[in-house]
C-alpha cells in the first residue's frame, strides 16, 4: 500500500464556525497528527476557491485522503466528493467532520467548542486512513414516473413530464382532479377565475396519451430505488402493478378544523363559516346567511389555527390575501355591507400582494387587530334588541380598547395542515417529516424539491403551506429534475453496500434473516452467503449481526468506525492531561 497522505481543511464558514472554534489553533494541532501532510483553514471551503484549494493541494502535495471540517456532511459531502473527483482522486477517500451544526452552533464556550472540533477532526483523520476507493455504480433509469396527488402541483408536474413524451402514472385519492384550486372561485391578487386555468389543465391531463390517472387510489406499497421503483396500486378491488424511475409527492394539505376553537362558535352558530365554505357560496354567485338573507355585517377572522401555539405555530401563508380577496368580493356583491377584518398580523408578501392590501384598505373596510397570544375574539349570538345576528367581542390592540362588532356572517380564515395520511405516504416513499408533519426537503435553499431519498421529490403544499404560483414552480422544477435524469438514462447509486468475505463466512445465514431487503441469499454448494448489490441499501445490519465477521459494510467498515472511536477519545484524553 502506498503511503497515506492526508490533507485537512478547517472551514470558518464566515463567522459561523470561526467565532466559536479557534480554527487556526485546530488546524495547527491537527497538522501534527500522523499521516497529515497539510492542515489548512479557510473562510469558505465550499466556495469555488475553497474547492480549488483542495484540488491544487491534492496535485501539488500528492494527497490521497482528504478531511474537511465544516458543516454537516448532509449538506456538503457530495460537493467535496466532486472536488476530489475533479482532482483525480476517488471520491470515497474523503471524510467530513461536522463542526458547525454539531459544534459551533450548539455550544457557548469557545474552549469547549475548540476541544470538541479537534476530537471530531482527529476521529475523521483516523477514519479516513482506512478509507478505500469504491467504484461508482450506475443503473438504468426507467423513463416512467409516478405522481402522487392530483392537485394543481401534481397536475402541473404530470403534464410537464408527459409533454416530453414520457409516461406518467398519476394517483389521486379522491374521485376528481384539481385539489383545493378546483374549489376556489377567484384567485388573489389579480382576481382571475381559478376554473379558467384549472379546468383546461384537468382535461389536458385526462386526455393525455402519456398520462394514466388512477382515481380513488390507496396509498401504494412502493419498493425499489431511484430509477427502478415498483408499486402495487390498489383501486377498489383492482390491483395495478407499476414500474417507474422517479416519484413526485404532491399530496397537498388540508384545512384546519375550527370547531376545536370554542370562542369562534363554529358548528354551534349557523352563520359562522370557514373560508372554504364561503368560497363555495362565492362560486354560486351569492352571499346569503343560512336564513337566506343578505348579511349586513360580515366579520372576517384571520389566523384560525395558524400562528397560535395551541394549534399550529406556523403561518398558513395564503389566508391573509384570501381574506382581502373576500373583502373585495363582498363589497362588489353587497356594496352596502360592512366588512370587518379581524387580523393578528397582516402578511402581504409576494408579487402584487402589498398592492392588493393597499387598494383594499381604501375601500371602506374596517381593519382591527387582535392579540393572538392573548384572549381570542369571542363570537356569540346577539340579543333580541341587537340589530344583527351575532356579536364579536375582542380587545383591539392598536387602540387598546375592548370592541364589540356586529355580525350577520363570520368567516373563519382557517389555516392549513398536513393530511392525516402524511405519515403513511412518507413511509411508503421513504422520506422524513418535520415537526408539523410537512415533508423535509434535501436542502432548504439549494435543493428544495428533492428529498434525501434519491428519486423522490416533494412539491406543493405537502412540503409547507404554499400559494398557487409557488406550487406550480415547484412542480415544474421537480419535473425538470426528473426529465434531466431520464435524459441521462443512467443514475449513480450508492456503492456503500455490504460484501461477504467467502473465506470467513461459515454459512450460518444469520445475515439472510436480518436483511430487510432480501438482498442476501445463501449459496448452498459453497456454504456461503452472497449479497446482491443492486438490492442492498447499505444499512449495515447484516454487518453487525454476522457472528464470524465475514461481512464488510463498505464505507462503514468495522476498522473505519473503531479507528474513528479511537481518534475521538485520543484527542479528548490528550486534552485532559
Amino acid at each position: 500500500m502506498s503511503e497515506i497522505r492526508i490533507g485537512v481543511y478547517v472551514c470558518w464558514c464566515g463567522t459561523n464556525i470561526a467565532k466559536m472554534v479557534d480554527v487556526e489553533k485546530v488546524a495547527d494541532e491537527i497538522a501534527a497528527l500522523q499521516n497529515v501532510v497539510i492542515a489548512k483553514n479557510y473562510k469558505y471551503m465550499c466556495s469555488d476557491p475553497g474547492q480549488d484549494l483542495i484540488i491544487q493541494d491534492i496535485k501539488e502535495h500528492n494527497l490521497n485522503r482528504i478531511v474537511v471540517a465544516a458543516c454537516s456532511p448532509r449538506i456538503h459531502e457530495l460537493t467535496f466528493r466532486k472536488a476530489l473527483e475533479n482532482a483525480g482522486l476517488n471520491s470515497y477517500m474523503f471524510e467530513m467532520a461536522n463542526i458547525r451544526e454539531q459544534d459551533s452552533w450548539v455550544h457557548t464556550d469557545r474552549t469547549d467548542a475548540t476541544k470538541k472540533a479537534k476530537s471530531l477532526i482527529a476521529a475523521a483523520v483516523n477514519r479516513v486512513r482506512f478509507h478505500e476507493a469504491l467504484d461508482k455504480r450506475t443503473v438504468d433509469i426507467n423513463p416512467a414516473s409516478m405522481v402522487i396527488g392530483g392537485g394543481i402541483a401534481g397536475l402541473t408536474a404530470a403534464l410537464e413530464i408527459a409533454d416530453s413524451g414520457k409516461k406518467v402514472y398519476l394517483l389521486e385519492k379522491t374521485g376528481q382532479l384539481g385539489g383545493h384550486v378546483a374549489k376556489i372561485d377567484l384567485c388573489y391578487p389579480y382576481f382571475q377565475s381559478a376554473a379558467q386555468f384549472v379546468k383546461p389543465l384537468i382535461s389536458k391531463v385526462l386526455k393525455h396519451p402519456q398520462i394514466e390517472v388512477f382515481f380513488n387510489a390507496a396509498v401504494p406499497e412502493i419498493h425499489g430505488y431511484v430509477g427502478n421503483f415498483n408499486a402495487k396500486v390498489k383501486v377498489g378491488s383492482e390491483e395495478h402493478e407499476l414500474v417507474f424511475g422517479n416519484i413526485i409527492v404532491a399530496t397537498g394539505l388540508k384545512t384546519f378544523n375550527p370547531s376545536v376553537i370554542k370562542e369562534y362558535g363554529y358548528g354551534a352558530l349557523p352563520d359562522v363559516v370557514t373560508s372554504l365554505e364561503f368560497e363555495q357560496s362565492l362560486k354560486n354567485g351569492q352571499i346569503l346567511t343560512k336564513a337566506g338573507k343578505e348579511p349586513k355585517n360580515v366579520v372576517i377572522i384571520h389566523c384560525v389555527g395558524s400562528r397560535n401555539e395551541k394549534y399550529h405555530h406556523y403561518c398558513s401563508r395564503t389566508c391573509c390575501m384570501t381574506a382581502l380577496k373576500y373583502s373585495n368580493q363582498i363589497k362588489s356583491i353587497l356594496p352596502d355591507s360592512n366588512v370587518y377584518q379581524l387580523y393578528a398580523d397582516m402578511r402581504a408578501f409576494g408579487k402584487g400582494c402589498e398592492e392588493l392590501y393597499a387598494e383594499t384598505s381604501r375601500k371602506n373596510i374596517v381593519f382591527m387587530m387582535f392579540d393572538q397570544r392573548g384572549d381570542l375574539p369571542v363570537v356569540s349570538k346577539a340579543g333580541t334588541q341587537d340589530k344583527c345576528e351575532m356579536l364579536v367581542n375582542f380587545h383591539e390592540l392598536l387602540s387598546s380598547t375592548d370592541v364589540e362588532v356586529p355580525a350577520d356572517m363570520v368567516i373563519l380564515m382557517v389555516g392549513t395542515e398536513a393530511h392525516e395520511n402524511a405519515k403513511e405516504i412518507a413511509r411508503a416513499v421513504g422520506i422524513s417529516m418535520c415537526g408539523n408533519e410537512f415533508y423535509i426537503e434535501k436542502h432548504p435553499k439549494l435543493d428544495p424539491v428533492a428529498t434525501t431519498t434519491d428519486g423522490v421529490y416533494i412539491v406543493g403544499g405537502c412540503q409547507s403551506p404554499k400559494d398557487i404560483p409557488d406550487s406550480v414552480s415547484q412542480a415544474k422544477a421537480a419535473a425538470a429534475r426528473i426529465l434531466a435524469t431520464i435524459c441521462k438514462g443512467k443514475v449513480e447509486v450508492e456503492v456503500t453496500t455490504a460484501v461477504v468475505n467467502e473465506d470467513v463466512c461459515c454459512g450460518c445465514q444469520t445475515c439472510v434473516k436480518v436483511c430487510p431487503y432480501t438482498a442476501i441469499s445463501y449459496i448452498e454448494d459453497r456454504n456461503v452467503s452472497y449479497v446482491n448489490e443492486v438490492l442492498c441499501k447499505g444499512c449495515g445490519t447484516c454487518g453487525s449481526a454476522c457472528p464470524s465477521g465475514a461481512i464488510r459494510c463498505r464505507h462503514f467498515t468495522d476498522v473505519q468506525i473503531l479507528s474513528q472511536i479511537e481518534g475521538l477519545m485520543e484527542m479528548v484524553l490528550i486534552e485532559d492531561e
Binding site: H107, D109, T452, P516, I565, L573
Partner: protein, 141 residues
C-alpha cells in the same frame, strides 16, 4: 477539577443525525461533552463499537435511532434494540453501571428533544462519575 464526562454517541443518518443537525440549525444549546459518530442505521451499531468506546475512555455511550416504525431501512432500529438489551445483560458482569449506556429514538424533527436528551444524559453520566473500565483493562492487560 470537576469531572467532565466523555460521551460517545452513535446516530443513524436518517433520523437522529438529522435531528442533531436541526438542533444546530435552530441554534439550541447543549452540553459539549458528546462526540457524535454517524452510522447509516442504528442497526449497524455493533456491541464491539460500544465496548471499544468504553475501552478507549468513554464514560457514557448513547445510541440514537429512528422511532419504532420509522426506520429508513424498515426495522434496523428493532435489531439495534435487541442487541442493546442483550449487551446490557453483560454490563453488570463487566462491572459497568447500567446507566452508562442508553438507547433512545430521535426523529429528524426532534432537534429540541435531542438537545434536552444530551443535557440529561450528560448529567446522568456526571452523576455516575468516571468509568474505570479503561484502567481495569490496562491493569490486567
Amino acid at each position: 477539577m470537576s469531572f467532565n464526562p466523555k460521551i460517545v454517541a452513535f446516530l443513524c443518518n436518517w433520523c437522529s443525525y438529522t435531528g442533531a443537525d436541526l438542533a444546530g440549525t435552530s441554534r439550541m444549546k447543549y452540553a459539549p461533552n458528546i462526540r457524535i459518530i454517524r452510522v447509516m442505521c442504528s442497526g449497524r451499531v455493533e456491541p464491539t463499537f460500544i465496548m471499544k468506546s468504553f475501552r478507549e475512555g468513554a464514560d457514557g455511550v448513547i445510541i440514537l435511532g429512528c422511532h419504532p416504525g420509522d426506520c429508513h431501512y424498515h426495522e434496523g432500529n428493532y435489531k439495534c434494540l435487541r442487541r442493546y438489551h442483550l449487551l446490557k445483560k453483560y454490563f453488570k458482569q463487566m462491572g459497568l453501571e447500567d446507566g452508562r449506556l442508553r438507547l433512545e429514538w430521535i426523529s429528524a424533527s426532534e432537534g429540541k428533544q435531542f438537545a434536552e436528551l444530551v443535557d440529561e444524559f450528560t448529567h446522568q453520566i456526571t452523576e455516575l462519575g468516571p468509568c474505570r473500565i479503561k484502567n481495569t483493562v490496562e491493569t490486567f492487560a
